[in-house]
């Protein structure tokens, strides 16, 4: 198992603070996430929106929104793959060339996301119209996302081969949480930068239900297979397309 460099610091294990941060906090966050997103969807569906501001400002939005979304979607997908298929990731990374491809790819998406996010922050700060539609939660979530991307890039650059040790250390830790046998002992030994990145993720999941990020949950999945026209009837069953 230890045929890849594991960035475990020589620190005393088992501090109670680590159990609070990496066992109690994630459960609180998860509970908050599920209860509040569902509550908001049921009680206040109107508030579910991406709150696009492209209508107010068009040019800068392109250089913010496009790189940000492509970058972050690829990174989220990467983290998800590491979590779900750790064996396959380790198998892929067993050949150095493949490992380099994986790491470089992840880094490129990280930089892309950072460029987009910085553009979005600058746009929100300098454009009068965009400032008029900026809420306190928008500011909070932008700060959290910026910290998360920066800490992610720091980890990628200074504790290398993250694709491998994520599969080896963090995937078992996350599985331990989801299988209700929490074990944060390995996480407790990780350097502070990785811990910061993990806590940043929990912070984002915690505020998620209270921000515009909920638009992620309502991506228009059925557009790809529904008929073009939508017709709704009073008495007949709701139908799409030409049916009666």
């Amino acid at each position: 198992m230890n045929n890849f460099p594991l960035p475990i610091a020589a620190a005393p294990a088992g501090l109670p603070i680590d159990d609070v941060l990496f066992v109690v906090v994630p459960y609180v966050v998860l509970a908050l996430f599920f209860v509040m997103t569902i509550w908001r969807y049921v009680k206040d569906k109107f508030s579910y929106s991406s709150f696009s501001s492209q209508f107010l400002e068009n040019q800068h939005q392109f250089w913010g929104s496009v790189p940000w979304h492509y970058g972050i979607l690829a990174l989220v997908a990467g983290h998800l793959i590491g979590f779900l298929f750790p064996r396959e990731v380790l198998w892929w990374n067993a050949v150095p060339a493949r490992l380099y491809i994986m790491e470089t790819g992840a880094l490129i998406f990280g930089v892309t996301a950072l460029v987009g996010l910085v553009n979005l922050i600058i746009r929100r700060a300098i454009n009068e119209r965009i400032r008029a539609v900026t809420s306190r939660m928008d500011v909070l979530i932008l700060v959290l996302l910026l910290l998360q991307v920066l800490s992610g890039l720091y980890v990628a650059l200074f504790t290398r081969w993250g694709t491998s040790w994520f599969a080896g250390v963090l995937s078992p830790y996350l599985w331990s949480l989801f299988t209700l046998r929490p074990d944060a002992s390995a996480v407790a030994l990780l350097p502070w930068s990785i811990k910061l990145h993990i806590l940043g993720a929990y912070a984002i999941f915690g505020v998620f239900p209270f921000t515009r990020l909920v638009h992620v949950l309502v991506v228009p999945n059925h557009y790809l297979w529904r008929r073009a026209q939508v017709v709704m009837w009073n008495v007949r069953k709701n139908s799409t397309g030409g049916g009666k």
């Binding site: 009068e128 539609v133 921000t211 790809l224 009666k244």
Partner: protein
């Protein structure tokens, strides 16, 4: 045959006086909230002019509506393949600058300004940012041809007009304009509905009204880009799109929509059309020169026993069929053929029709004596000298086919000659009748057109079918119980986010 009913509209442009009462009536009811200040579900444009949003008819710029690609119909702005990229940044979305930044004035400065030697002024402030703004344009900046060398010269409908015709339009003594009131066309093949990734937009089956479900809209903005008439609007405050709802809460209680009800010139007509929904996909793909005729073809005769039987089979309510038989819109569009759809080349099959304007009526002068037209040629004479070039009207209402405009104008002119012969008597009746027959009309039809344009009562202009909302409720509970239990439904305030 799949018979459906559609609440449809006719605007008679000869009667529009450009008073904007319709726009104000609409705004006071629907769009006086934060985020909607810039929206005009109903607006009145001066033509020639660039309209609102600026140059909305230029689909090279806005990419609205449908296009035929191979044997398929596809949206110009988006599609199943393109939605993935469009969702992060919609390349064809108009911005607020294409409409205008709404503003008010800082009136309190008039009262609070310190005493001085000059008059205090109320500075304009933006309704978006609350800061002072320098007003550059507004929704009717070129009203009544104001600044038309700058604005009207960019009217997309002027394409195809010769230099001479363009010059004529601007010659001072021939200067001409007409008004073009616009609401949502509640199309048969709506591009907005087809573009919505969330499926928030839908067409109501029973009456064809196109609506946006505010609880399903997620601000993906596709409808704004896809509608070629630019009649869906993005509410920048709530993060939801909104559009003309044909005042359906008024219709459901038997009242005409606010813009119709308030129309000073009484230019507006509203009624039911029955149409064959099975043929929409087929005719929307036809070559542009066949579209006007084809749309007329799928509108069915509500007096035809076969159509009535089919309508019953398809579940169209008896009262709606009856209402379709009295529909003024059916007469204008299908019987008299004098109402035409706007820009049907966008292929959304709009269900709002316009009677093109005859204005200004030009007579011949003979030795400075106004000649009313003693013979048929004189009655029809003015068209080729009409100040609004026929080509311009054709670009607007007939995909460039002047013949269709000529047909309408000849008929309208013949009706005038006929009524003048009957009431004033300076045109021989024989000549008037001859003119009518040459215009594909008859004395009885002329009388009908005259009565429906000059003397119609409120109930003749607006034949509103019973909307049968009780049927929607019956499926779940007793309508009488429902009536006692509910208030207005959606009672949360439309605030932004949580």
């Amino acid at each position: 045959m799949n018979v459906r009913s559609q609440i449809s509209m006719v605007f008679h442009l000869d009667k529009c006086i450009g008073c904007h009462t319709c726009s104000v009536a609409c705004k006071n009811i629907w769009t006086d909230r934060k985020g909607t200040e810039y929206m005009w579900f109903n607006n009145v444009e001066t033509k020639p002019g660039t309209g609102y949003p600026t140059q909305w008819e230029d689909q090279g710029k806005y990419h609205g509506g449908w296009e035929v690609s191979g044997d398929k119909l596809r949206l110009r702005s988006t599609g199943k393949g393109r939605i993935v990229t469009n969702i992060f940044h919609n390349p064809h979305l108009p911005t607020m600058d294409d409409y205008y930044e709404p503003w008010t004035y800082k009136y309190e400065d008039l009262f609070n300004a310190p005493a001085g030697t000059d008059q205090p002024t109320a500075m304009p402030i933006s309704k978006v940012t609350g800061k002072y703004i320098d007003i550059k344009a507004g929704p009717n900046w070129d009203d009544d041809l104001g600044g038309s060398p700058i604005y009207a010269a960019n009217d997309p409908n002027l394409s195809g007009l010769g230099e001479e015709q363009r010059q004529q339009l601007q010659a001072l003594e021939r200067l001409v304009l007409f008004y073009f009131p616009r609401i949502c066309n509640h199309c048969l093949n709506p591009a907005c509905v087809a573009s919505c990734p969330s499926g928030a937009l839908y067409k109501r089956g029973e009456d064809g009204i196109v609506l946006i479900n505010q609880k399903r809209c997620r601000a993906w903005r596709s409808c704004v880009a896809a509608c070629p008439y630019k009649k869906t609007y993005y509410n920048w405050s709530t993060g939801k799109s909104e559009k003309c709802l044909l005042c359906y809460p008024r219709l459901e209680t038997g009242q005409a929509p606010a813009c119709f009800h308030s129309c000073v010139g009484r230019i507006r007509y509203l009624g039911v059309l029955l149409y064959d929904a099975d043929r929409i996909a087929e005719i929307a793909k036809l070559p542009a020169d066949k579209l006007v005729e084809a749309q007329r073809e799928i509108i069915l005769d509500p007096n035809d026993p076969n159509v009535i039987a089919e309508a019953r089979r398809c579940g169209v309510h008896e009262s709606v069929i009856e209402s379709a038989q009295k529909s003024p819109v059916y007469k204008f569009v299908k019987v008299w053929k004098i109402a035409l759809p706007p820009h049907i080349e966008y292929r959304t099959l709009p269900m709002l029709f316009y009677v093109p304007p005859l204005l200004p009526v030009l007579g011949q002068t003979d030795n400075n004596v106004y000649e009313n037209g003693q013979d048929v040629a004189a009655i029809f004479h003015p068209f080729d000298q009409q100040r609004v070039p026929m080509k311009y009207l054709a670009n607007l209402f007939a995909c460039g086919d002047e013949g269709k405009i000529r047909y309408v104008l000849r008929k309208l002119m013949a009706v005038r000659a006929f009524k003048r012969a009957a009431t004033v008597g300076d045109i021989p009746m024989a000549t008037a009748l001859q003119a009518l027959s040459q215009a594909d009309s008859s004395d009885s039809e002329a009388e009908d057109i005259y009565r429906m344009t000059a003397l119609p009562t409120f109930a003749q202009r607006f034949v509103i079918p019973p909307m049968h909302r009780e049927e929607a409720i019956e499926a779940f509970k007793d309508p009488q119980d429902h009536k006692r239990e509910v208030g207005f439904g959606f009672t949360a305030s439309p605030k932004r986010g949580l």
